[in-house]
């Protein structure tokens, strides 16, 4: 049990041992802590990697045996985003970036660093501070076929462009009877940071989730950040890619080979059988932290990073609920009108018969995020709360 509990620590690194285009591989589902994903055919290479993956998770503290993988490079999350963006810009000349300080300054979170020197000022466009019109401009350009990536310096600023995002990005394909498509990617950091204040700590997935026609994805690790960035750019639909201010310096080893992830797919982070924990973005890491404690205490949570906020991957989620019969949603949105609220409704609608109790949801408080550190910590969900909630659920106390 100790081994299994400790094995959770290198979970992120082990992810990388899977070659990027193996499709999906089925590892032994009984191995605790092994990385299990829904299955398709195995390639020779993936078989090798699977066994090294199993070996790596089994032992605590041992450095993962990466020499067998012979690939991958360590990278920080913002750099992974940049890599994905750069690869897509090199591959497709219609991809361009529009935003404040994305060009010469290199991006306020360095996601576009070096791109203006490489691709020129027209493809990495520094705009004045006019979110409404540069988002509109990006949408207008997308209508003609350019694949624009609009960066909001902070997601909260994109509230100024809400009209453009809702009416022109989301609805235009429908109201034009299918004549125009809007292959735009709207991205930027959001979420509660470290004492950034109320207006710079907003969770915009809450507000945009009901706009029809939009797709929303949230990245949480360098691996899925790069994959989702590439998939979003290649998609013909308007995609909002939610990044998190505090995750930009997360480090992980990702494959050297090119890979693109599926926009509508959830990620099974840790298989289990006691309870399904659905989470995304920064809360994934809090859940993993709580999981360490939970596993030590003998619980076996199944952790799913939903990644796709609109539409939900109800297939993955449903299969998990059918197995565990209990579900806990851990999100950073506020209680009212957040992703958790919609996800709970979707779960109740679809999987009522498989639930032992009500779907639980841990969300942020319905308050503007305060500046003071202690108050800010109290606004968002903390790992300790996750542990308590899971224990209560598994003991039938809720």
């Amino acid at each position: 049990m100790a081994a299994a509990g400790a094995a959770l620590a290198p979970i992120i690194e082990n992810r990388l041992l899977l070659p990027p285009n193996a499709g999906r591989i089925r590892c032994s589902s009984s191995a605790r802590g092994a990385l299990v994903v829904r299955g398709a055919a195995l390639s020779e290479e993936s078989r090798k990697n699977r066994s090294s993956a199993l070996k790596a998770v089994a032992v605590k503290g041992e450095a993962p045996n990466l020499t067998t993988a012979k690939s991958g490079h360590e990278i920080l999350l913002f750099d992974a985003l940049r890599e994905g963006l750069e690869e897509e810009m090199a591959r497709d000349p219609t991809v361009c970036v529009i935003g404040e300080d994305v060009g010469h300054y290199g991006g306020s979170y360095k996601v576009t660093k070096g791109l203006a020197e490489k691709f020129g000022d027209l493809r990495v466009l520094d705009t004045p501070i006019c979110e409404n019109s540069f988002t509109g401009m990006g949408i207008g350009a997308a209508m003609t076929g350019l694949r624009t990536v609009v960066e909001g310096m902070n997601m909260g600023f994109l509230l100024l462009a809400y009209n453009q995002i809702s009416n022109n990005a989301g609805m235009l394909h429908y109201t034009s009877g299918g004549q125009f498509k809007i292959p735009i990617v709207i991205r930027g950091p959001g979420g509660v940071g470290k004492q950034l204040g109320a207006e710079h700590s907003q969770r915009l997935e809450s507000y945009f989730q009901s706009v029809p026609g939009l797709q929303m994805v949230a990245c949480s690790t360098p691996y899925n950040a790069k994959g989702l960035m590439k998939a979003a750019i290649r998609s013909d639909n308007p995609v909002i890619l939610y990044e998190h201010v505090l995750l930009y310096n997360l480090k992980e080893r990702i494959p050297d080979e090119e890979y693109v992830l599926c926009l509508e797919e959830a990620e099974l982070v840790r298989p289990g059988k006691d309870v399904t924990i659905l989470t995304y973005s920064r809360m994934r890491h809090f859940v993993l932290q709580a999981a360490k404690t939970l596993v030590e205490r003998g619980y076996d949570p199944e952790i799913i990073d939903i990644r796709s906020l609109k539409p939900f991957d109800l297939f993955t989620i449903g299969n998990s609920i059918k197995k565990t019969h209990k579900v806990l949603i851990v999100e950073e949105c506020m209680r009212t009108g957040g992703i958790g609220a919609s996800l709970r409704a979707a779960i109740v609608d679809n999987f009522w018969d498989f639930l032992d109790g009500r779907p639980e949801c841990l969300s942020s408080q319905d308050v503007p995020t305060p500046y003071a550190a202690t108050l800010e910590d109290a606004t968002v969900v903390q790992p300790a709360q996750i542990v308590v909630k899971v224990e209560q659920m598994c003991q039938g106390l809720v």
Binding site: I139, A142, Q164, N168, L172, K181, V260, L314
Partner: protein, 410 residues
């Protein structure tokens, strides 16, 4: 205020002189029957004659940070006849829409363009199909100008599947991809930012074309317009901002909503030109000048001094904030179709009977389209869910009970 009302009614019709120059772009709806008739008569110019001659533009242009173009424009007999025909079709179409709305075939919002026909028709004479146009919700006639058919417009207004947006857009959402017409936008002013985006794409792709972003005097007070002007001027985007100033933002007159109703000057560092929007030839000349400017020097603002006879929309009678005398005064003094009619008759290109014929044909065309549209079916129920997303890379629209839809990685 009285002086302002007087300004609306000013500018009488002009007499014309003649000269010669190169032919211009022609409109689609020429009347072949008319040309057959006239070849037997010895008129000054036959109606299908493309020999150019020059006409004076009576109302002077006003320039802001630019030298206005000449007060004379080349045209030809055929072009004038085409202008008349297409403007008359547009006029009939809007009047038909009025009666259909009252008969409850058209519901919701219906913003009619009659009175303003010269703006979109004159524009088209100076543009090609490579140029892009985006406008606000008063878009029925702009859609026709860009190559749409009256049937498409009528069917869309009635919510039938034969409409240009398959019945899913409605009056305010008409688009034509082949004609580079980007709609059709419901929210006031939002289209100006999109227009800057169209111009950005044209610059990015190094196309030798311009984008026209049309907006009204009401939208001229929107912040996003000034944002769009700033970024267009900053990056020399080939965009022409066209303010269709019909002097009323719904029920609010321009002097009550704008500190400075000189909309062609409000671009500040962006040059501007004020054009008599009821004179189709003046519009043609002005837009041609603007296109040249946009392609070589950067954005420009055009103010079209025009007027709408109907209210803001069908739910607005249009007489609570202006007098009926004003409306009929403008109709008498400045109607765009009457102006072309007088010009055609003065230059003896057609007879009164010919024009009556053209009018009858136009009415017949519109009536035919209305009847055909009425027979069109409603969209199927499954169309509710189509076109929400584009079927592309790993993408489908889901209902709550969807099955596995994983698509292999490319």
């Amino acid at each position: 205020m009285a002086r302002w009302r007087q300004r609306l009614l000013s500018s009488a019709c002009s007499s014309s002189s003649s000269s010669a120059a190169a032919p211009q772009a022609l409109l689609r709806l020429a009347s072949s029957a008319l040309s057959r008739q006239s070849s037997s008569r010895g008129f000054a110019a036959a109606p299908d004659d493309t020999t150019p001659f020059v006409v004076d533009i009576p109302v002077p242009y006003a320039g802001h940070r630019c030298d206005p173009p000449e007060q004379r424009v080349e045209t030809s007999a055929k072009e004038l006849v085409d202008f008349f025909k297409v403007m008359y079709v547009m006029r009939r179409m809007e009047i038909a829409a009025d009666s259909l709305y009252k008969a409850k075939f058209i519901r919701g919002f219906c913003h009619l363009y009659d009175g303003q026909e010269a703006v979109c028709v004159g524009m088209e004479a100076a543009l090609t199909k490579e140029d892009a146009i985006i406008t606000a919700y008063r878009d029925h006639c702009t859609h026709i100008g860009r190559g749409g058919t009256v049937l498409e417009v009528m069917a869309e207004l009635m919510g039938r599947k034969s409409g240009c947006s398959l019945g899913k857009g409605g009056s305010m959402h008409m688009y034509n991809k082949e004609g580079n017409f980007y709609g059709g936008n419901g929210i006031v002013g939002a289209q100006t930012a999109l227009g800057a985006g169209l111009a950005f794409a044209q610059k990015y792709n190094k196309q030798n074309a311009v984008s026209l972003a049309l907006y009204g005097d009401g939208a001229a007070n929107q912040g996003q317009l000034f944002e769009a002007m700033n970024i267009s001027a900053l990056w020399d985007l080939p965009v022409i901002f066209v303010c269709e100033n019909n002097h009323y933002g719904m029920g609010t007159a321009e002097w009550r909503s704008a500190k400075s109703p000189e909309y062609y000057k409000r671009g500040d560092y962006v040059p501007g030109l004020k054009i008599d929007g009821m004179d189709v030839l003046a519009v043609k000349q002005g837009v041609r000048f603007a296109k040249e400017h946009a392609l070589t020097k950067g954005p420009i603002v055009l103010e079209m001094d025009t007027y709408r006879y109907h209210g803001h929309s069908m739910s607005d009678p249009g007489s609570t904030y202006r007098t009926r005398e004003e409306i009929s005064g403008v109709r008498q003094e400045r109607d765009p179709i009457e102006r072309v009619r007088k010009l055609l008759l003065a230059k003896e290109i057609v007879t009164v009977a010919d024009l009556k014929n053209l009018e009858k044909q136009a009415k017949a065309e519109v009536d035919e389209a209305v009847n055909q549209a009425k027979e069109g079916g409603q969209p199927e129920t499954h169309e509710l869910f189509t076109h929400v997303h584009v079927k592309g890379l790993k993408q489908l629209a889901y209902g709550p009970d969807r099955k596995e839809v994983i698509v292999p990685l490319p």
